[in-house]
Amino acid sequence: MNCLLCNGPVAAKLTIRELIWPGRLVMPVVCPKCRQQFMPLEGEQRCPACCRLQDTSQLCPECRCWRQMYSWKLTHQALYCYNTAMKEFMHQYKFAGDYRLRAVFAAEFTAAIRQKRAEVVVPIPVTQATMATRGFNQVTGLLGGVKLTPCFQHRTLEKTAQSHKSRRERLQTPQPVALSGPAADLAGKRVLLVDDVYTTGRTLYHAADLLYQAGAANVISISLAR
């Protein structure tokens, strides 16, 4: 078995228990050295609403802005810091299109989503053009075995990728998605929005806005990186 990221060997160290009771084995897909490069977002020193790392545990200036713009609050959880290793990972997974890499975080991300105990889990969609070239939605790829309600659709066939824009341009992005199909059942539900990377929060706030309009009782969000 080789590491999905560096292609070096990964040794699976089995515990005595696993050797004696051979149940379902979960083999590591990434070597410890590569795993170490990713920095989990933990501890008190971060914004309670978006998980941004900072010196205090107060609301960060960005989230204060958002609270002024919208009447409701969005609480976001991010699992990892968007550092060089994570950037490299996202590049390889999304832009190079190596769909195997979903296995690196899938188990962990799915567990975090299960913990939220939301009634409806909604992934952020990709455009039809992306679907035709990339062949997969990077968000749903990361979720193994979670029941999803894909109630969003892009309003346009194509768009410039958020990652190619400046911060200002990103914040000025107009509402990119519209509700479709299964949106009717949202009324009164606790909804969890799922994205791959949280950068400015623009996409998630647009999406949450729609969900509240559709009558959702409460919307929270989660992303792999921040």
Binding site: A96, G97, D98, Y99, A132, G135, F136
Partner: protein, 442 residues
């Protein structure tokens, strides 16, 4: 540009509208359990290669741009549109009589589009020998590629070829480069880049076929088949052909030309093996195996410098410590691949500032120090392939002033890779002796 598609496979989306005169080629064959990528020829289980909605992609050659069932290849058959300006060969060097015979055979083979192997010992001057053949093919308006698994080899070859063929259009392709692709008669590239071509070259030359990381890699041989035209010729250059090539020679699918003598006309130094059962433990206690330090001492007394190879970076410090204890008055240092001062240290060895270097296999090929001895501690380690061992042994005796030199290996146990390396050297020397006799008879 239509030119960009000549003899190439260019990835485009499945739904693109095909321009005039352009053919499309399939990307992936989907079988019941596996998929086969048409670019790299690798098979992947469907489970690994799956994308949503019954689409598949090839994870093996993803670094060249993803091949998937969502795309197709554009291709235009190679038209050989080149203008040939004389003289083709602007190289003014001379070949030794031995090189001349080998070069003539290689040229004849290239003109006849044969599959051939030029098996020349380390330090024989392989590159110069192909110039004549390359010139003959270029003059006939053929398209050629010279590829190597290592980028450094390509980077080193390119200026030499540019000087030798000043009037020919040339392109250099490798992964770390940002220049766009250019259609040229002579292409110098890494073997990985070959996967982008399809039935393009009338003659394909692959230098250092056995070098890391593509030693005997099936992808390499698939690429060499795919990129040369159906009637095209192939030429492999190496000092240490691996199992695959030797097998091809045995089955007469590959013409072989030997050059068993170095440019100075002497035989290769042969390997001597010694047993050093627990060398790692001894070294950790700060002591070299007795026989070994006697050997090193003799070399130092006679004023010969040497390279000491160890299997792993971790062994460098312990061996260095043991060496300081045994030879406190001698100046030496250690070198490994991630060493920031690697180049300075190698230069220091050239400038005779060090009496010896302790190193890992990074100095196995491409470096020449005159009049040195070569020692390997732990030669039976998995890290040394038999090709690497032949290359390492080939560091000794490269100068005409001291064509001999000692090559000593210390092993914990007998090992097949070491025996095979010894056998290869002995085989080349046997051929070399015949050559020497012929030469002296002339």
């Amino acid at each position: 540009m239509l030119e960009d598609y000549y003899g190439r496979r260019v990835l485009v989306g499945r739904d693109e509208i095909v321009p005039a005169h352009v053919q499309t080629l399939p990307t992936i064959t989907v079988q019941t359990r596996e998929i086969i990528c048409h670019r790299c020829g690798q098979r992947t289980p469907k489970l690994v290669a799956a994308l949503p909605n019954n689409e598949y992609y090839c994870p093996h050659c993803i670094n060249l741009g993803r091949v998937s069932t969502l795309c197709k290849f554009y291709h235009v058959p190679e038209p050989n549109q080149f203008t040939i300006s004389q003289p083709v060969l602007t190289w003014r060097g001379r070949l030794s009589p031995l090189q001349v015979t080998a070069a003539q055979r290689v040229t004849a083979g290239m003109v006849a589009h044969q599959r051939q192997l030029l098996w020349a010992v380390t330090g024989a001057g392989k590159t110069e020998m192909i110039f004549q053949g390359v010139a003959a093919c270029l003059a006939r308006g053929e398209r050629l590629a010279i590829a190597s698994p290592r980028v450094d080899v390509c980077l080193e070859l390119y200026p030499r070829l540019q000087a030798a063929f000043t009037n020919t259009e040339m392109a250099l392709l490798h992964g770390r480069q940002s220049q766009p692709y250019r259609y040229a008669q002579l292409t110098v590239c890494t073997t990985h880049q070959l996967l982008r071509f399809y039935h393009a070259f009338d003659n394909l030359i692959i230098d250092e076929v056995d070098a890391f990381p593509y030693a005997a890699n099936p992808v390499l041989f698939y690429a060499s088949q795919q990129t040369s035209k159906t009637q095209g010729g192939q030429l492999f250059l190496t000092a240490t052909p691996g199992e695959y090539l030797l097998n091809e020679v045995r089955h007469r699918r590959l013409q072989v030309t030997y050059l068993p003598l170095r440019y100075h006309g002497h035989l290769l130094p042969e390997i001597r093996c010694h047993l050093a059962r627990h060398w790692r433990r001894q070294v950790q206690r700060g002591r070299l195996p007795t026989e070994m330090w006697r050997r090193l001492q003799t070399s130092l007394h006679q004023g010969h410098r040497f390279l000491l190879f160890v299997p792993h970076v971790a062994d460098l410090t312990t061996v260095a410590r043991a060496c300081t204890r045994h030879f406190p008055a001698t100046s030496f240092t250690t070198v490994h691949a991630q060493d920031p001062e690697r180049l300075e240290k190698v230069q220091g060895m050239r400038d005779q500032r060090y009496s010896f270097l302790i190193t890992t296999s990074i100095l196995e090929r491409g470096v020449t120090f005159p009049e040195i001895d070569v020692f390997v501690l732990g030669a039976d380690d998995d890290i040394f392939s038999s090709a690497a061992l032949v290359q390492i042994a080939g560091r000794a005796g490269r100068s005409a002033s001291r064509p001999g030199g000692h090559v000593d290996f210390w092993l914990t146990a007998r090992c097949r890779r070491v025996s095979r390396a010894m056998r290869q050297i002995r085989y080349m020397n046997q051929k070399g002796r015949c050559c020497q006799r012929e030469l002296s008879a002339m």
